[in-house]
Amino acid sequence: MSDELSTLLERFKTRDTRALARIITLAERSADFSERLLDALGEQTHRRAHVIGVTGAPGVGKSTLIDKLVLKFREKGKSVGVIAIDPSSVFSGGAVLGDRSRMNRLSVDPQVFIRSFGTAGELGGLSRGARDAIKILRAFGKDVIIVETTGTGQNEVDVALYVHTSVVVTMPGLGDDLQLMEAGFPEIGDVFVLNKSDLAGSDASYAELKNMVQLRYAERAWKPRVIKTVGVSAQGVDELLRALEEHYDHLVSSGELSLRENAGFRKEVEEIIKERLEHELKRYLENRFSEQSVNHNPYKVAKSLLGEFTKLLKV
C-alpha cells in the first residue's frame, strides 16, 4: 500500500472530511487506486446504510426535495452523504454542476457531505467514480446516502442496481398518461413523488400516476408509494421519509436487501470489465486505424480487427 493511501486512511478513520474528499477524488481518477482502497477498507464498505436513488427529468425539483429530505434525516440524528450527478459535456469532458447550489445550507453541517459528479461520458447508470463514492461514504459511516441522477427514460434502471430504494420524481403536466405508457414508464420505482403538487392540474396528474403505478406494479411484493410533495415548502416530505423507511424495512424483512446488493455487485463486475475492455480497445484502435484506409465493408474490417484484438488480449 502506498504511503499516500495509508496516511489518508489513518485520517479517514478519524472521520477527517478532507481525507474523505481526497479519497473520493483519487478513486475517481484511477481504477488502480480504487482496487487498493477497497482492499484496505474491506468489510467496511458494507456497513449498514440506506442508499437511496433519486431520479427524474431535469427541472422537476430533485435537488430542492433532497435538501428538505436531508434536513429531516438530520432531525432524526442520521448522518447523510449526497452524491449529485449532472451531465458532462461529451465534447470537452467539462461540466457545470449546479445541484449543490440548492443544498448549500446543508453543507455547513459537519454530518452532511455533498459531492458533485459529472456523468463523465456515462450514458446510463453510474460512473465508476460515483459507484465508488457510495462505497467510500458507507465505509466512512454515513447512515443515509442519497444519489441524485437526471433520468429521462430507461437509464435509471442501471442506477437502481446500485441503490436500495429508488425514488422517481415527476411533476404535474409532465406528460399525459399516454406518454407515461409509451415513453418507458419507470419500472424500477420503489417510491413515486409528484413534486410541485401545488401547481394547477396536480390532482389529475396524481390520479394518473397512482393508476399507472398500480397497473405496472400489481404483481410485485412491494407496492410503490405515491406521494405528493412541494419541495420548496417541504410539504409531504415527512410522508416521503416514512415511505423510504418502510421500504428499507421491507427490504430487510423480505431478504431482498441482500438480493439487490448481490445483483448490484455482479453488475459492477461486468461494468468494470467493460470499462477496461473499452479502454484497451480504444488504445488498440488508435494505432490500427491510422493504417486502415476507408473500405466499403465495415463489418469485414471489424471482424478482422476484433480477431487481432482478442489474440492480443490472450497474451
Partner: protein, 124 residues
C-alpha cells in the same frame, strides 16, 4: 457571495471553464464564506474562483481564506474576479489569493490562470 445579486458574469465564466474541460461546481448566489469553504472542502476542489461585484471583497475574500484555513484546506488556491481596485488586489494577494482579475480579462487568460492555480496544487 454575500448580497451580490449578479450572476451573469459568473455563469459565462463557468461555461467557458467547462468548455475548457473543467468540472465547475456552481455554488449559486448569496453564499456565505463558510458555505464556500465547506463546498471547496467536500468537493476536493482544485481551485476556488470567486466573482464579486458588490464591493465587499475586502471582507468576504479574507473570510473565505480564514474558513479554508480553519477547515485545514488552505492549500486550495483562491482566484478572485470582479471590480477590484489595485490596492485591494495587492492586499488580497498578500493575504494569499493566487490571482486577482479585473473586468475585461479575456476568457482565454482566465482559463489559463485557473489551470496554473490547479496545477500548482497538484504538484505540491
Amino acid at each position: 457571495m454575500g448580497l451580490d445579486g449578479h450572476d451573469r458574469g459568473v455563469k459565462v465564466i463557468a461555461r467557458a471553464l467547462s468548455d475548457a474541460g473543467m468540472e465547475v461546481i456552481y455554488t449559486g448566489l448569496r453564499q456565505t464564506p463558510e458555505q464556500v469553504a465547506y463546498a471547496a472542502l467536500q468537493e476536493d476542489a482544485d481551485v476556488v474562483a470567486i466573482s464579486i461585484l458588490s464591493g465587499a471583497h475586502m471582507t468576504l475574500v479574507p473570510d473565505v481564506l480564514e474558513h479554508l484555513k480553519k477547515l485545514g484546506a488552505s492549500d486550495i488556491p483562491v482566484v478572485v474576479g470582479g471590480i477590484i481596485p489595485d490596492d485591494d488586489a495587492k492586499e488580497l494577494k498578500r493575504l494569499g489569493v493566487f490571482e486577482v482579475m479585473g473586468p475585461g480579462t479575456p476568457l482565454k487568460q482566465l482559463v489559463s490562470v485557473i489551470e496554473a492555480a490547479a496545477s500548482a496544487r497538484w504538484k505540491s
